[in-house]
């Protein structure tokens, strides 16, 4: 299946899903430097729903942020632990941007949602909050325009392009 380069406008439902406090794992890199991997601690969709910003600890993701700056390539997988429903967004114009206003509120919102999700499948709140712990002063933002949206729910359809 081709990874189309057409920019997508996310639906309200998809925007709400990825902003809802679920698992976010991200990658950047290219064939030369190989893949980097990291975990994000929050997500925001732009008002026009054409760009997505994910937030992550700069200290824990130095190589990944370097790869973003160098390549612009970015992949972010969103997964709801209680249902396994997963999607992956990809873009090639990713840039490290200032975190912007309201960061603490956004981090709190993400943590609350993720705690709710993981508590339902047996994780302690302490576990989830430790996993997402990030000092707002050192949180970096990566903003990109999704040009590929893929179903990643485990099963034979995983990898199929989705209508946004």
């Amino acid at each position: 299946m081709a990874e189309t380069l057409q920019a997508h406008r996310l639906t309200d439902a998809l925007a709400a899903y990825i902003e809802g406090g679920i698992s976010i794992v991200v990658s950047s890199g290219d064939a030369g430097r190989g893949p980097t991997v990291g975990r994000a601690v929050g997500c925001r969709v732009s008002a026009d729903r054409r760009s997505v910003t994910v937030f992550l600890s700069a200290g824990a993701n130095a190589a990944l942020l370097e790869a973003v700056a160098a390549t612009g390539r970015f992949a972010a997988a969103f997964s709801e632990p209680t249902t396994h429903r997963s999607i992956q967004l990809k873009g090639s114009d990713a840039a490290v941007t200032p975190a912007g206003e309201g960061l603490q509120t956004l981090l709190d919102h993400h943590a609350a949602g993720f705690v709710r999700e993981l508590t339902r499948i047996g994780y302690t709140e302490a576990f989830t909050r430790t996993l997402l712990a990030a000092d707002p002063d050192e949180v970096a933002a990566v903003t990109f325009t999704p040009t590929g949206i893929f179903d990643q729910t485990p099963g034979p359809r995983a990898g199929d392009p989705l209508d946004p």
Binding site: V25, G34, P35, S86
Partner: protein, 463 residues
């Protein structure tokens, strides 16, 4: 970070962390994350339900679907994986190089069993299915900076427990004592509540239970076919098989029940099945092959109603105990020199009274029934039939292992290594099923068959 050539030695470069250091992250409790790049350089990121420890420099990932990760790895064999310690939340990044995929054999089977447990735990039975075990060399392991929780205090030190158990086994003087000691140590030193020792039969196709711990009915004499469930797979592949969550994929009994139904005699309604004693709803199971001199002797099996009861360290500990058990078993199974075994003693009849018990023997499978209750079959059944015949016809009560080994009618294999184990099996079945027949050891290679009720023998010949 990636793209480096695979190091020639097993040690990771930089003298840093090895896979051994982070094994707790590979228990399949918290999903890991894998990042790969396509040929055109586009990154891909995905969650990973299972990573298996192979050795200090290798891991295996489950290949379940031909997805983007899979296509990328085949085109560009480098991946970066982030794992989480389920206790401390410590995270690590592993730089990996893909080597090859295995679709059968010990690594594949142990991953398949674990994946079945993981799938049923997360509600993905029928979705998660292992197509292959992808083997990777670990190039580098890097801790991810971040907060951690204090590590939990462990209930026991498995290394100390292993040492004590091995010391105790080396002090045993016979096979029966060895089995009992092994199970007692599993309980006392490892906190195991349910365990079994099974032996491989002479044909190498089935395992029979010789000693158990913690079950309402001992199940001694019950059988598991090679390849059936956790125990049969561990035996067939000669590798530990461990399940950390309950799964129906590795349940016992169906195959055993079917074969028992076929074997049961129409009309008589007599079944030769001894029910397998396992837990009805096991959360965790671990079967470790008992090997000695590269031969499979049997399986040591433990289980628990709890999920995640046995981890990698438990597997290592039990494998070590099983190795010691195997060495000792082999020593006891060597037939002693003829001089050590006295010839059968003079016939002595024990006190007898009451109505005769009917002992029926079926020549087709050497199964034996006492007053219509199934006792035993196979080699142990043939031995028992010889003992009762010699007792009824000749009044004998004292026997030697040597004469059994040499008896042409018993047709024991040349080495007859399992004779001792068969006698233990027979002795335990009699102790459980019958209060007027008993086997008592009277010396090395000698025993007394004590009978306190008259016996009436009925033979159903072969065919």
């Amino acid at each position: 970070m990636t793209g480096a050539p695979a190091p020639a030695s097993e040690a990771l470069p930089g003298g840093g962390l090895t896979v051994d250091s982070i094994r707790n992250c590979l228990e399949g409790i918290v999903p890991a994350t894998i990042a790969t790049v396509a040929e055109d350089g586009t990154p891909n990121v995905s969650l990973l339900s299972q990573i298996d420890y192979v050795d200090c420099a290798h891991i295996a990932l489950s290949y379940q679907f031909f997805n983007k990760t899979r296509r990328n790895i085949l085109a560009h064999p480098y991946a970066t994986v982030q794992v989480v310690d389920p206790d401390t939340v410590a995270q690590y990044r592993l730089s990996l190089r893909y080597l090859h995929t295995e679709t059968s054999g010990p690594l594949f089977e142990s991953m398949k069993a674990r994946l079945a447990g993981i799938a049923s735990h997360v509600g993905m039975q029928g979705v998660f299915r292992l197509l292959g075990a992808d083997l990777y060399r670990v190039l580098e392991i890097e801790p991810v900076p971040g907060l951690r929780l204090p590590p939990p205090v462990r209930k026991r030190n498995l290394l100390a427990a292993t040492r004590r158990a091995c010391e105790a086994l080396s002090g045993c003087t016979d096979l029966e004592g060895l089995f009992d000691q092994a199970l007692a140590d599993l309980q006392a030193l490892f906190g195991v509540g349910h365990a079994m020792v099974l032996m491989l039969d002479e044909c190498g196709r089935r395992l029979y239970t010789v000693a158990t711990l913690g079950y309402a009915k001992s199940g001694v004499g019950s059988e598991v076919a090679l390849g059936d469930g956790v125990i049969g797979t561990a035996a067939r592949e000669r590798t530990p098989i461990r399940i950390t969550h309950m799964t129906c994929d590795y349940r016992y009994g169906r195959a055993a029940r079917d074969s028992a139904r076929r074997a049961s005699r129409a009309g008589a309604g007599e079944s030769t099945e001894i029910p397998f004693p396992g837990l009805p709803e096991p959360g965790s199971q671990l079967a470790v092959p008992i090997l000695a001199e590269r031969r499979l002797l049997g399986v040591l099996f433990v289980e628990s109603p709890e999920d995640l009861r046995f981890c990698y360290d438990d597997e290592d500990a039990l494998a070590t105990v099983a190795a010691q058990l195997g060495t000792r078993m082999l020593a006891f199974q060597q037939p002693p020199a003829p001089a050590e075994e006295a010839d059968a003693a003079d016939p002595v009849s024990g006190p007898q009274g009451g109505a005769p018990a009917v002992v029926r023997h079926y020549g087709c499978d050497d199964s034996v029934f006492i007053d219509h209750d199934y006792l035993i079959k196979g080699v142990a059944g043939a031995i028992f039939w010889k003992l009762v015949r010699d007792h009824v016809r000749l009044g004998r009560t004292d026997f030697s292992n040597r004469e059994l080994r040499l008896d042409p009618e018993l047709r024991l294999p040349e080495a007859a290594e399992n004779l001792e184990a068969r006698l233990i099996l027979l002795q335990r079945r009699l102790a459980e099923r019958c209060d007027f027949l008993r086997i008592e050891k009277t010396g090395r290679g000698r025993f007394r068959f004590s009978v306190t009720r008259p016996l009436a023998l009925e033979e159903t010949p072969k065919g």
